[in-house]
């Protein structure tokens, strides 16, 4: 379980929507890699990852780069 720190944005993946386009890992390699089937793997190991302030711009780009809208950025838990 991740323990969210207040104020930090979180990137959230809906795995039922993700179709392995892989753009997110290109835009945000600091937080996202791809598995052998090219599905994203967050460095957190789960389906949400905390986004440090300095990567917020890239995280927003990753969200809009996803053709199937599988990524969301949110402030709340």
């Amino acid at each position: 379980m991740n323990h969210p720190r207040p104020g930090l944005s979180k990137l959230r993946l809906d795995p039922t929507v993700c179709d392995a386009h892989g753009f997110c890992a290109e835009v945000l390699p600091e937080l996202i890699t791809l598995d052998e089937w090219e599905f994203p793997v967050f460095i957190s190991g789960g389906l949400t990852v905390e986004v440090p302030h300095e990567l917020l711009g890239e995280a927003k780009r990753a969200v809009s780069a996803c053709p199937v809208l599988a990524l969301r950025l949110s402030k709340e838990d």
Partner: protein, 443 residues
């Protein structure tokens, strides 16, 4: 430990077999008349919820989540929605899908004490103010004609009519959100991030409870929470059904108090037969445990977890030493891969790949490197699906690799100790027919 009188499956005093109480008169002769439960109004649950809370009852579908807390959550979201005047009333779904092939407790319960389950549905529905109730068994289930007959006997008795629904038999269809989705206007596929207690069937607050949990509620409504908690361990009280299978003299479903020594459970099934190389707990989404660790523990969520296992829906299966654990696991892993809804990449691609890895090892064509790669893949599959199907399957495999490590290494060196040519782990007939890459048919 004193032996406990079975509550859900009382035995015939002469034969010792569970009484057949499909007829309402036989049911009432044993259990007494149905409990009267006041109907919740004004968004407040009825007092039975306090008894359920006091009973300490936890869900028997596998998660062992506190039942009263789940009921409170449904009541609260129903009240919140009513306040928003979008308020349609709550729904109860009794889950008797029994997706785990090694489980038969819900089928045994519903074919012996079906009225108890339906009374539990009624009591739960009244307590949370639900206006609709469903009983889900899988499509093609032999329970369907039995339950049709049981429900016909109850026409005019039940405040909330219970509708029998039959979703597809697929393993993931019994998952709570998949079941709720299907009961509404959706498909029998898990819904990521779903909170059925808030927005369940067609958006209504939905209480999904396992059939056994509801049967316990029917008895708590009669006898109270303190009575319920007088059996079993304090943090998971009561009696519980266990499907005991594999290498035991009399496989079947027994009712035990939680906290019973596992050796007592095995002895009640006539004891193990022959040499045992390990135990499967919790089914194909569960965990393998070594013989020593399991035989020295007791059957309750915490001690079984400390032994490395998981009670889940109450499955205990002894694997005889004549079977090849790798062949068994490869076959089950392929079947589980086929039972996926195929919505998420790690499940859709990961499970067939690790099943293939197991088949390679089982066929004595794998090396130590292949074992390492399999372990890496298993670690990468977990926590990344919309439901727990991939996680459960990965746990089934990784605990097996650990429990049977000597035999796994033996295979990597080109040997197999098995002598049997039939399989110990059951696979439902007429579904996915997996074939081993090494060329051996998995029947």
């Amino acid at each position: 430990m004193t032996s406990i009188t079975p509550r859900l499956l009382p035995p015939d005093p002469v034969t010792g077999r569970a009484l057949d109480m499909r007829s309402l008169s036989a049911h009432e002769a044993h259990f007494g008349p149905a409990p009267r439960v006041a109907v919740a109004t004004k968004g407040r649950p009825e007092s039975l919820i306090d008894e359920i809370s006091a009973s300490g009852l936890r869900g028997r579908g596998g998660g062992w989540f506190p039942t009263a807390r789940k009921m409170h959550a449904v009541v609260e979201s129903a009240a919140a929605r009513k306040a928003l005047s979008s308020g349609r009333k709550a729904v109860v779904i009794a889950n008797a899908m029994e997706g785990e092939p090694a489980s038969s407790k819900d089928a045994i319960l519903l074919s012996h004490s079906p009225h108890l389950v339906i009374e539990g549905i009624q009591a739960a529905a009244a307590t949370i103010g639900a206006s609709n109730a469903y009983l889900a068994v899988h499509r093609g289930s032999p329970l369907i004609p039995i339950l049709d007959e049981v429900l016909a006997q109850r026409s005019g008795i039940d405040r909330v009519p219970v509708e029998l629904i039959t979703p597809p038999a697929r393993y993931v269809a019994s998952e709570e959100s998949a079941l709720t989705h299907w009961a509404g206007d959706g498909e029998a596929t898990p819904v990521y991030g779903a909170r059925p207690f808030q927005r369940g069937m067609n958006g209504r607050p939905t209480l999904v409870q396992n059939a056994e949990t509801l049967a316990h509620i029917a008895l708590i409504a009669r006898n109270g929470g303190a009575w319920f908690a007088s059996a079993g361990v304090p943090d998971a009280p009561g009696t519980t059904l266990v499907s005991v299978g594999g290498a035991v003299a009399q496989p079947g479903v027994i009712e035990v108090a939680t906290g019973s020594p596992v050796t007592d459970i095995l002895n009640r099934c006539g004891g193990v037969t022959g040499s045992i190389q390990g135990f499967l707990t919790g089914g194909y989404g569960g965990a393998w445990v070594s013989t020593t660790a399991l035989q020295t523990t007791t059957w309750a969520p915490d001690p079984v977890r400390e032994a490395g296992g998981v009670i889940g829906a109450g499955i205990l299966l002894a694997l005889g030493s004549q079977h090849c654990p790798l062949e068994e696991m490869a076959r089950v892993a392929m079947w589980m891969a086929g039972e996926s809804a195929g919505q998420c990449g790690p499940c859709r691609f990961g499970l067939p790949t690790v099943a293939d890895d197991l088949a390679t090892l089982a066929g004595r064509e794998g090396s130590i490197q292949d074992i390492h790669r399999l372990n890496e893949r298993l670690a990468l599959i977990v926590n990344r699906g919309g439901c727990k199907h991939p996680d459960g399957t990965a746990r089934f495999i990784s605990t097996g690799i650990h429990t049977f490590h000597a035999e796994v290494a033996h295979h990597a060196n080109g040997h197999c100790s098995a002598s049997s040519n039939h399989f110990a782990l059951p696979i439902p007939e007429g579904r996915a027919v997996p074939v081993n890459r090494a060329g051996k048919d998995f029947k």
